[in-house]
């Protein structure tokens, strides 16, 4: 609860004080949530035993609807990601002109924390939609071009998806014995095969749009490209993880009865998405567009890994969710710096920036390598586990998914080459050290997770085992 | 006066009201002069008023609830007439017409 209230209060404060207070101060203030998280862990004495502990539970407007929040390893990792990235996103703001950006981002933080902690179906849905509101305004107000067209496309897309999820949730609710939206109650509903396919399809549609899984991705590239960098960071760094998280926490246990039906479909679509995104990324000129398609490629692999239902795939996927959040935010951060200091983010306009700032070039390179999953950077362990799981599921899909490590190297190195290396026409203004600090933090994480991924695996594995148990319970109903 | 009701059924008033109401409705649909339209609406309202009064008699309750409603309908009718005619006057001032089929700006 604390980490929902805190950002909300900050958001209100930020909205009222306007631009009187420096954005850096807000960035630092928003770190408070991170400490609140640690406090919560101490306060509630949560053990990492896989159980989704309630931290807050009051009845809401009806008997079956509770305002329930809970924490376990998986949720913990996700809110860690959220509360870690939001301050960095705020610090990445370059101008003072976008006045309502900070309140909106902080509001978003509250909603995102809610999504990851909600233990009640309706709460989940409400937070899910709540998160859409600030990002809608961020995109609408500060998009570089075609603001309305892109934003409305994105909004309607995700909104239709959410409605499908709501339908599924309500169906499950009606099926519960004492009409409750509580997670455990929804989980205990036993559906027959047909029902479960429909319910699953509802969930899946919502999550597939958010992730996005091919072919539901057509909102993504334009939104990422046109949105302000902070919007792109929020979308790709955290919001996208909502879809993956939902897939793991809600879709797979709830529709376990039909998971055998969805498994090959999702995996094949995801693998198509992997190659599809990578192939498109190869020729992109706009840096943000390039990252958008690379993101499509990477999350496809995560979704595929989840759907293999193997411990390796799911844990690797969760690890990769965390890692992808860090990498993609770092990439957008870099693009934002390049755009504001070199005046363009078109590869054809850039080049030769490395000679202006060696430190920046080095950090950029490490992030690029992390994204390209070079060993000892954070991209590698997750990708290794995911590829292994997909490979074990089916050799052919494994090989196709594996092409990502080649294609990713192709487009990431191209991106680095044409922006930083060569003679180049562009020049880079002086970058303040303060602006480098967030990037330094991210890069430190890139290397730390790359060397010791087990630290994170230890955090999540009890919860993952529990979720896998729930999936197999749910699956076992039919057999 | 009571004796006449010995043979009078509620249905007769219902039929009468219905006929009046539908005549009013026909007028609304058929006529194009906005003033006539408003008058037809008054006619329809009166049909309803009549029915309220009849039901008040029919129920035989001691509170005259039916008659109360007639008052309120009258209030609304009066207000409606006032505003409606004001709008009409303004429309006429701008367009020199009171023909409703001419007023089709709802299209856009």
């Amino acid at each position: 609860m604390e980490i929902i209230i805190l950002p909300l209060i900050l958001s209100l404060l930020a909205a009222f004080t306007g631009s009187k207070i420096n954005k850096t101060v807000w960035g630092l203030l928003s770190f408070v949530s991170l400490f609140a998280m640690v406090y919560m862990k101490q306060h509630y004495g949560i053990h990492n035993d896989g159980v989704w502990h309630n931290t807050f539970d009051v009845p809401w407007f009806s008997n079956g609807i509770h305002f329930t929040l809970g924490i376990d390893g998986l949720t913990g990792l996700m809110i860690l990601l959220t509360n870690l990235l939001v301050p960095i996103i705020i610090l990445s703001i370059q101008t003072d002109k976008q006045k309502s950006l900070i309140p909106l981002i902080l509001f978003m933080q509250a909603a995102l924390n809610g999504v990851f902690m909600a233990k009640d179906g309706l709460m989940f849905y409400i937070f899910w939609e709540l998160a859409l509101i600030p990002i809608y305004f961020i995109c609408l107000l500060y998009s570089s071009k075609d603001a309305f067209k892109t934003t409305i496309k994105f909004f309607i897309y995700t909104f239709v998806g959410s409605l499908a999820m709501l339908a599924s949730l309500i169906y499950l609710y009606l099926k519960t014995e004492n009409h409750s939206f509580a997670y455990e109650e929804l989980l205990s509903v036993q559906l027959n095969y047909t029902e479960s396919i429909w319910v699953g399809a509802g969930f899946l549609f919502a999550f597939a749009v958010k992730i996005p899984i091919f072919p539901f991705h057509s909102w993504q590239a334009n939104t990422y490209t046109n949105a302000p960098a902070q919007g792109s960071m929020l979308l790709s760094g955290i919001m996208l993880k909502m879809g993956l998280y939902g897939l793991l926490r809600w879709f797979m246990p709830m529709a376990g009865e039909s998971i055998a039906f969805f498994q090959p479909i999702v995996i094949i679509l995801a693998v198509i998405g992997i190659i599809y995104g990578a192939v498109i990324a190869i020729k992109q000129n706009d840096l943000k567009r390039l990252i958008a398609f690379s993101s499509l490629s990477h999350v496809g692999l995560i979704a595929a890994g989840f759907m293999t239902l193997s411990a390796v795939g799911i844990q690797g996927g969760v690890l990769q969710m965390f890692v992808h959040g860090i990498n993609v935010v770092a990439l957008f951060y870099i693009v934002e710096i390049i755009e504001s200091h070199a005046g363009s983010r078109e590869l054809s306009q850039l080049g030769g920036l490395a000679k202006f700032n060696r430190l920046f070039a080095a950090l950029y390179l490490i992030v690029v390598l992390g994204t390209a999953a070079v060993p000892l950077t954070n991209g590698f362990p997750g990708e290794l586990l995911l590829l292994k799981s997909v490979f074990d599921y089916n050799t052919i899909t494994g090989v196709f998914a594996g092409l990502t490590i080649i294609l990713c190297a192709v487009y990431m190195l191209r991106m680095y080459q044409f922006s930083m290396l060569g003679e180049g026409k562009a020049s880079l203004n002086e970058i303040g050290l303060l602006k480098m600090i967030p990037l330094l933090i991210l890069v430190a994480l890139v290397i730390f997770i790359g060397v010791c991924p087990q630290v994170i695996i230890d955090q999540i594995s009890p919860s993952i085992q529990k979720i896998m148990l729930e999936i197999s319970n749910s699956k076992g109903v039919l057999s | 006066m009571l004796n006449i009701f010995q043979s009078l059924e509620i249905s007769h008033y219902i039929y009468l009201s219905c006929v009046l109401f539908c005549i009013g409705l026909f007028g609304v649909l058929f006529r194009r002069n906005a003033i006539i339209l408003l008058m037809c609406i008054e006619l329809m309202l009166n049909a309803v008023n009549l029915l309220f009064a009849a039901f008040s008699e029919y129920m035989g309750d001691k509170d005259a609830n039916g008659q109360m409603f007639v008052f309120f309908i009258m209030v609304v009718a009066a207000a409606e007439a006032a505003v409606g005619l004001a709008i009409l006057v303004m429309v006429y001032r701008n367009t020199r017409k009171t023909d409703v089929s001419f007023l089709d700006s709802l299209k856009d």
Binding site: Q284, G316, A362, G398, L413, R414, L421 | D108
Partner: protein, 633 residues
Amino acid sequence: MNSIALILGLPLVGFLINGIFGKNLPKSIVGWLGTFTVLASFVIALGVFNDLRHAAIPSEGLHLKLFTFLNIENFNVDFSFTLDRLSIMMTLIITGIGSLIHLYSIAYMHEDEGFYKFFAYLNFFIFNMLMLVLGANFLMLFFGWEGVGLCSYLLIGFWYKNAEYGKAARKAFIMNRIGDLGLLMGLFLIFHQYQSLDYSIVLPKMADGSTSQAMLTAISMCLFVGAMGKSAQIPLYTWLPDAMAGPTPVSALIHAATMVTAGVYLVVRCEALFYLSPITNNVIMWVGLATSIMAALIGLKQNDIKKVLAYSTVSQLGLMFVALGCGAYSAAMFHLATHAFFKALLFLGSGSVIHAMHHEQDIRQMGGLKSKMPITYITFLIGTLAITGFPFLSGFFSKDEILLAAFEHNKIVYILSVISATITGLYMFRMFFVTFHGTYRNHHHSFDKVHESPWQMSLPLMILAVLSVLGGLLNLPSYLGHNVSMKLSHWLAPILPMAESHSELSHNTEFMLVGLVVLLFVLVVLYTRNKYVSKNAVPEEDALTPSTGKVLANKFYIDELYDMVFVKPLELLSALVDNVVDSKLIGGLISGVSTLLVAISGLNKKIQNGNIEYYLTFMVLALALFLGFNLFF
């Protein structure tokens, strides 16, 4: 402290210090720090080598487990290292030659603004290469494998302002990545089959014959794809000549002596696996042979001094793979070692020449340098003699061993290998004579300005020259007597349980074969000397060469072919998918939904004509409909 940790850790420390603080340190400290960390590793490795010689169980080595890298269900991989007889050999080569090349670089790179960066990268490379050979499981190998690929990328593109170099660097990295994918798939198969990636568990299981032939073949083919990428075999060899864009010490260290031999190391490490899959063995042999001959042919017509050496490297690597395919693992390792000596020597020698010629690499612009650069001349001569198989130099023994193994295995392979070896002589002497003999031909720099290199450069040349001469002592052929011969084979024998090399050839046959090779060598020397020294011929311009020569000079148009078959279609596909599939098809599908909605609303719009009468009529009808529905149903 554990010696493995020291061997690995020192270059890492060097990398970190140079990488982080190098910018503010004086050049001398940076250079000597880089050199000494590697040298210290070498010294420690020597100590370990001594320990291993006296170890009780010859197949055992040292172990070091740092921490658990990943542990999910049964997927358990440790960050652990092992140092056995095979890896100590690789370690000695890497750190030994590595420290020489570091020393050399102090002088060679002295003028460069990225001096500290260069040393940081070099140290990082040494660290990764050591991780590759010291890793105790396949994943550690993969770490090093990708790590050296990364360093190779960084160092090829070291002069990052040149876009062409950047392109070459990317080409190298991506081609390596293709191989890496194969290796990764192999890793998955290995884990699938054996539920582990540790050498100590997997290798014995491979050897015990319980694995099906198909699985062995699949695994070995996957690993070989990885080896192809790293060791520049057909079809993934084209990156290596382009990699010469990097500074010359890099070419010597990474692209001649160490990294490119990682593929050989991998095959030798999984000796049991490869030994038991004859199909893969044959593939390896023929691929190696084809690579060897093709690269040698291309080398005949190259005029860039480093390109010649690059193709020579590819050719020699091909020869090593021929040996592996024939099952002569120790012969391959022997050639790996001697090749590391003389190829590093040649590259450093060429670097010395390039340094003297102010970064001129075209041999047509050189000539007559022997008087100006005596040390370089002599050491380069020794290197050339060693690689071409001058009797009793290192290359002579190692190449002969491979040829003998080929003779034993398959006569055709033998003949083709001899041809390849002969061509090696042709292009090496061509280059040597054109560079050092004849008359000086450069008109941009005066001959007087050509100078001998400083001692930091000539010292490594001399040491490597000595090694190139004496390298043969490692593994003298058995006909020279049992006491002195086959030391390397015996050393490696505990690591290679399957392939017990037992020569069935009589010494007479061996002598005859060796004699043949020596004869060919003499003919080659006479021919090239006649052509390039006596007649003072200079290679023609590319455009003037006759058609066959043109094909060779253009490297069989393989780059163009790849460009046409892979690069262009991929780019086309990318454009197609982006512009047609994504925007028109998928985007069209989505906007189709909205278009449909708009069409429906267009229909509705006709009803909504703004006329109240219509609305009223519809309202009344609808009311009647609802009431009627209520009435009748």
